[in-house]
Each structure stands twice: as structure tokens, then as C-alpha cells.
């Protein structure tokens, strides 16, 4: 149950925080079609976040989705740092969302086979949404990469900004069920390092190959290169999955939680 709670929290927080960054794009996009599409992606991710946080709360006995979203402190959030980065321009948006949706679709596709029926159902619903997200951003990546010299420069700069955060997508929390790199990959985790129960998630490292292949295809169509930048280290080996975030996260949470915390007894 502990493993399930943490697993759902990770994936739920990714969606919640990424959705927040997309929400901040509302009313700022280049075209109305993009307003509709980005709001739609933000809504889908918010919906995934709600289901996953609720599942996590049920598994851990915590209060519900709103308690998790609005009354946890920064170090309790388990999202990858990619999700929390401050927004840049439209090139950065597309670059980040391309990475995020490609990775998440690969993860969700496999999670449809999770032994936890709730998680598996959430994944099945999410796959349809994420496939649309990925295709939408891949099309934009191609348009920008193969559009004008300036747009090419912007999408390349965006990729350079987000690429240091890519490796973290394939890691687990240091303290929770991290798999040793030498173990066979790609299967639903069938062990729990805490010794209780059957594994519910997949080893995130197992989707790296699929991720690389899909992106290679998109990059080819977009005439773009994988950026030559180093992965961003954590602090003492700990990063987003361990609750060690970037300096952007505190400001994000201060904004997101401000009304809920000003009225802790409020009903909405």
C-alpha cells in the first residue's frame, strides 16, 4: 500500500504541477486554437492528477486530493523537476510538453497492465489523452523546427533548456523501490523493497528506449538534434522524486496554495 501510494503520488504530482504551468499559459498563447488545445491538455492532466492523488490518499489513508494538493509542503511533493520549471516562450513550452507527453504516454501504456485495478483504469483512460497530447506537440515541434530560422532557434533553445531534466524522468525515489540498473527492465515491478505486497508500477527506466525512439522520429521530421547538454544533478543525489526541488517550486506552491491556506476551514 505504501508503494502504491508513493507511485500514484509521483505520477499525480507530475500531472498537477505540469498542469499548473500550462494553466499559466492561458490567455497568453499565439492563437485561439492553441488556447483551446493547451487548456485541454492542462485539463486532462488535472483530471489525471485528481484520480491519482485520490488513489494515493486511499492507499495511504491520507485525506483526499485537495489535502494533498493544497496542504503538503514543498519537500512532500514527488514530481520531477521538469514539471515545475518556470515557463519560457512557446518554444520551451513545446519542447517541455514533447518530452513530458512522450515519456508519460510510454509509462501509462505499460501501467494499463498494473495489478492495481484502479491504477490500471486510470492509465487506460490517460493513454488516450496522452496520445493526443503527444501528437499535438510533435506536430508543433515539426512546424517550429522546420518553419522559419527563428522558430528553429527557439525550439532548439527550448530543448536545450529542458534536456538536462530528461534523465530524472527515468528514476525512482532514492528511498522507495528503486531498481538497480542491472535488473531486467520493462516488466511491472513484482517486488516491493519494503517487503510488503505485490508491486503495482513499472520500472520507469524501462521506458527509456521507447522514449528515445519516439523522440528520434520527431526530431528527424523536425530536422532537429538532441541537445548536447549534461543532465542536471540533484542535491546529494536527491531530486524531485525525493522531494528535493528547484527554487521555482516554492513560488509555484505559494501561488497554488494561497487561497486554500488562507481559508483552511473553507468549503468550496
Amino acid at each position: 500500500a505504501d508503494e502504491l501510494a508513493t507511485y500514484c503520488l509521483m505520477l499525480g504530482d507530475d500531472a498537477l504541477i505540469m498542469s499548473h504551468r500550462l494553466q499559466q499559459w492561458c490567455t497568453r498563447l499565439p492563437e485561439l486554437e492553441e488556447e483551446v488545445a493547451i487548456a485541454n491538455i492542462a485539463l486532462d492532466l488535472l483530471g489525471q492528477a485528481r484520480l491519482l492523488l485520490a488513489r494515493s490518499a486511499a492507499a495511504s489513508g491520507a485525506a483526499g486530493e485537495d489535502h494533498l494538493a493544497f496542504f503538503r509542503d514543498e519537500h512532500e511533493f514527488r514530481n520531477v523537476r521538469l514539471a515545475e520549471l518556470e515557463n519560457g516562450d512557446f518554444g520551451e513550452l513545446i519542447a517541455r510538453l514533447l518530452v513530458f507527453a512522450t515519456w508519460r504516454l510510454a509509462v501509462f501504456s505499460r501501467l494499463t497492465g498494473s495489478p492495481d485495478p484502479v491504477l490500471s483504469a486510470i492509465a487506460a483512460k490517460g493513454v488516450k489523452e496522452l496520445r493526443y497530447h503527444r501528437d499535438y506537440v510533435a506536430q508543433w515541434a515539426v512546424r517550429l523546427g522546420d518553419g522559419t530560422p527563428y522558430s528553429r532557434q527557439r525550439i532548439a533553445a527550448g530543448l536545450e533548456t529542458v534536456w538536462p531534466y530528461v534523465d530524472e524522468l527515468f528514476t525512482h525515489p532514492v528511498d522507495h523501490g528503486q531498481k538497480h540498473p542491472s535488473e531486467p527492465a520493462g516488466e511491472v515491478i513484482a517486488h516491493d523493497q519494503h517487503g510488503g505486497g505485490v508491486g503495482v508500477g513499472i520500472d520507469l527506466a524501462s521506458v527509456r528506449e521507447e522514449f528515445d525512439e519516439v523522440l528520434a522520429q520527431v526530431f528527424r521530421a523536425a530536422t532537429l538534434q538532441i541537445p548536447d547538454v549534461s543532465p542536471l544533478p540533484g542535491v546529494g543525489g536527491r531530486a524531485g522524486r525525493d522531494g528535493v526541488h528547484t527554487e521555482a517550486m516554492g513560488y509555484l506552491l505559494a501561488e497554488m496554495q494561497s487561497v486554500a491556506r488562507a481559508h483552511p476551514d473553507g468549503t468550496w
Partner: protein, 315 residues
Amino acid sequence: MTPAAQALSEPELERHFEQVIERDQRIEPRDWMPDAYRKTLVRQVAQHAHSEIIGMQPEANWITRAPSLRRKAILLAKVQDEAGHGLYLYSATETLGADRTELTEKLIDSKQKYSSIFNYPTLNFADVGVIGWLVDGAAICNQVPLCRSSFGPYARGMVRICKEESFHQRQGFELLMTMMRGTDAQRRMVQDATDRWWWPSLMMFGPPDHDSPNTAQSMAWKIKRHTNDELRQRFVDMTVPQAEALGVTLPDPEISWNDERGHYDFGEIDWDEFKQVISGNGPCNAERLAHRRAAHEDGAWVREAAAAYAAKQHT
């Protein structure tokens, strides 16, 4: 213009147009129509489209801070609907020969207007509910009759839009109901928001009839079906009982039922404030336009890239 239409003389065309209007039938984009009708209609529909787009701002202001995930989803979906309405309405103007980009430029150059209501700030989360209740409520009063607009695409658009607006209005009212059942601070928020939005909502119906010179022609063309004051009265009559049900006080001591008229009386609107706001001097006019302008300008390179890419695909 269809070949059949080309065969007719201008007076014949005009008579045909007037008959269609008279019989409460629809004018369609390819039909002949007087230039003045076309122009008035483009202006009307564009203003409506601009209002949807500018109107996203005050509400989007609270998406990231919504205090529950359910309310966040509702608000985000609502703002998305507004973008959808804008898109739909700009398309309607395009059937009349207008161009979306040109209209957007007219908006950001202050050459076309949008609803004065969006020049007020949203200052607490109850504003989201009050906008649903009062602003969408007023919009519905204005728009339901337009489902019978003589121009087909606009009339059909209004049917869809009104349906969604009613949904938004109920959601807003439901948020306020929930907040009124909450803490004292929440009730105070609702009252504060009501105090700030009430009068501007009444102004949404436009100037008083004696000061609304274009109303007669628009009504004759059936692109407007009731006068401003009629619609305003209808809104007040609808809203006063809702305020009572909610338990908030409308900030107008003169509101009282008039048995003789069969309507609620209400106080005098501050028309000076209204004129200031529609002439650009409201509390948020500059901010709203600057925001829209920045989004449009920041997005120029993206639109250019899309155009360049599309051009490459065709060669």
C-alpha cells in the same frame, strides 16, 4: 453571391432581404444583404468575439489559485469554453468577409470594443462565482433573444453559446451557495464580490434607451430583439430573488418590488462611470489590452513559423 441573386436588381434584392427579415427567416452568408447590415453585424459579432477573449483574463487570473481541484477544473474548462466561443464567433464574422487577424488588430488598437464589464478586476475567489452568476447571467439575458437573430450563423452560434453560458451561470451560483454555507470569511468574500460586480453588471446592457441611437435600426433588422432597458429590467427581476436565496445584499438600497409595474425598481446607474469605462478609462482597460497585445505580439513568430511550414508542404 449566387447566380440567381446576380440576376436581380438592387431594389429587388433589398425587397427580398426585407421579406426574409419580416418573415423571421434567416439571412445566410451567401445571401445578398445591405452593406450597412453587414457592417453592423460584423461589428456586433466581432465585439462579442472580443468580449469572449478579453473576458478570459479576469477569470484565468484565478485558475492557478483555485482552492480545490474540482473548482480549478471547472474554472479552467470555463475559460477554455470562452476561447472556443471566441473562435466560433470570429468564424461567423469570416462568413461575412471579415478577417480574424484584422479584427484582432482592431481590438488591440482600441478600434473595436468589447464588453465594458471585463475592465473590472477580479479580487477574490468569490469573484469567479459572481462572474458566473451576474456577468454570465446578464450575458444570457442579452444573448437568448439573439438565438433569433436574423443572421443565421450568429443565431445558431448563440444557441450553442447560451447553452454553455447557462451551465457556467449555474456553476457560478453553486460556488457562491457553497461559499455562503462556509466560513464567515467566505461569506464576506461573496458579499464583497457582489458589491463590486453588481453595478457593472447592470451597465452591461448598454446606455439607457433614450441614449442608444442605433437600437431602432438594429431592432428593425432583428439583430437586436429588445431594448437595453427592457433587458436590464429582465435581469434585475431575475436576479433579486436569487440574491435573496443566496443571502447576499445587493448594493442598492432602492431595490424594491413595484406592484404596479410588476417589476423591481432599482437605483440610478452611474452613467459617468459607464462612459469612462467604455471610453478606455476603467480600472483595467489598459491592462486587458496590454495583455492581449503582448500575447498577440509574442506569438507572431509562432504564427509565421506555422505559415512557413505550411507553405513548404504545398510546394
